[in-house]
Symmetry: C2
Subunit: 342 residues, 2 copies
Amino acid sequence: MTENTPNQINRRVVVAARPSPAVTEACFRLEEAAVPEPGDGEVLLRNHYLSIDPAMRGWIAEGPNYSPPVPIGDVMRSFAVGEVVRSRNANYREGDFLMGRFGWQDWAVANEDAVDRKVDPAEAPLSANLHLLGMTGLTAYLGLLDVGMPKEGETVVVSTAAGAVGALVGQIAKIKGCRAVGLTGSDEKVADCLESFGYDSAINYKTADDLSVALAEACPDGVDVYYDMTGGPISDAVMDLINVGARIVVVGTMAVPSSPTPMGPRYNRQILVKRAKMQGFLVLDHFDRLDDAARELARWYREGRVTFREDISQGLDTAPSQLFKLLDGRNRGKALVRLISA
Amino acid sequence: MTENTPNQINRRVVVAARPSPAVTEACFRLEEAAVPEPGDGEVLLRNHYLSIDPAMRGWIAEGPNYSPPVPIGDVMRSFAVGEVVRSRNANYREGDFLMGRFGWQDWAVANEDAVDRKVDPAEAPLSANLHLLGMTGLTAYLGLLDVGMPKEGETVVVSTAAGAVGALVGQIAKIKGCRAVGLTGSDEKVADCLESFGYDSAINYKTADDLSVALAEACPDGVDVYYDMTGGPISDAVMDLINVGARIVVVGTMAVPSSPTPMGPRYNRQILVKRAKMQGFLVLDHFDRLDDAARELARWYREGRVTFREDISQGLDTAPSQLFKLLDGRNRGKALVRLISA
């Protein structure tokens, strides 16, 4: 068990600079520090997997966001799955696996607040706790079901559809008896949507001759639910097809730079005429529902009704490049970093 | 009771042309026809008051809207209060007053479907059934309470605030213990908001040096509910001030021409970061709740907790000019036409 014995060195990736505006190598720095000692109520964890998420661009940027930016010099904020190596908290024992905000580092000291969920390794692979049974799963599950409220026979459009969240949204839409239509940025991802994620139809929005026409063909009965992680011109095409009572779940704004605010067609008339609801969904507000969501998602996984794809790199030093790849849309599946050799 | 005896002539205003894009004299024509006979299940009504509403611009225009346009040559669609003169419907007797869609005409034949509510003349003045106890009241009441869901101590912004709906929204917001902030287009209307409609603060958006600054001063705790009948640049200023969990009720789009779709800043990031909800509200969907709403509004009226202002012209032939005045924002109070001499 040498893996679980702290050596003297904790390698960690800290935030070195703000994006300007691109997220580049200059934003991060690899450091070494002593392995920390857990204080009263804390645990020492050995991180096994790190999660790489689109929200990280926001976490290191200044400007309006839903959580304060990671201070320069601090360890990069990140969800991770770690094994408890030493515990000074009565709720956790050595050998327990936890999912929480443990940062881009080999070793982490965490208090109760940083722990999101105790992981059951029998439920699914450890890494799945960073997507299917973690924030990804909760984002897809609650965003679609609570805000989108899909009903059997309705049409659900997802943008983008082949990412970790989008892949799951499509599969949950199918479980709920909906027609699932995916928008994504490459032919390879279109194939993933159709072959792996259960979408009825998928469109490459980068190469479609006329996105509006392609969407209208894919949605002969209009759009009832739009799970929107992009905004921008893709969303403009979807908004023209919404049905009366449509629900637009605003989960991300990848295609809407934070500054300067880009211009686009005003949606007021569609929203009024169609009595549509456009609502922001932020998973951070709903951590208290993670256990319930994870239980149902794990059941669907064991029943073979949801599948996932992972894009894993090996070693802490690969975390920044995994993030660049994700932000460029070059990943295929949920981006993760493995810290413990498989 | 000569008033209630049909003569041979029914004067009516029909739609003569579509707006191009302004609504002008050319859109309407005064005609004469025989007073119609009620068929089985129908009543013959003598209209007393006609309602003049902003939605009428949409009712006579082509293009996406929530109800089909009034066909060229048909009587202009309009809410009205009329007295039953002859009844072939067991639910209504001669002398009953009804509110419904009876059109811009002296006499109307109506079936059950065209009747929205049986009027109790003791509850409030007859004309109030076309605003406080009619669509105006229902629009203000349900739009604010069901979609806006104001809580005590929250800030409610209304645009525009001095019209028939806006005046009522401000007063209901105050009844619910909110801070009410009104946006309106003249100093005279600002005075109405502050002196008659209970607003805590009111801003003339046409003359404000910097609307964003004026709004921020009027809303020191941000904006929790935005009752939006305009859209456009006014709304852009409000959107910059919304709080987490804000509700934006899209009730009208006076400042957003239907074609071509105007451009504006994209709201996606505010909606996401603030987990805001932007939802279209169309009163036509909620006629079944009119009785309940009217009952509570009538009670507030009798208790002196809500007041209203009327802008009444005399005679059927004044209906088009009342509409032009309303669309130009030159009315002061709910626009009505009286057909029976007072």
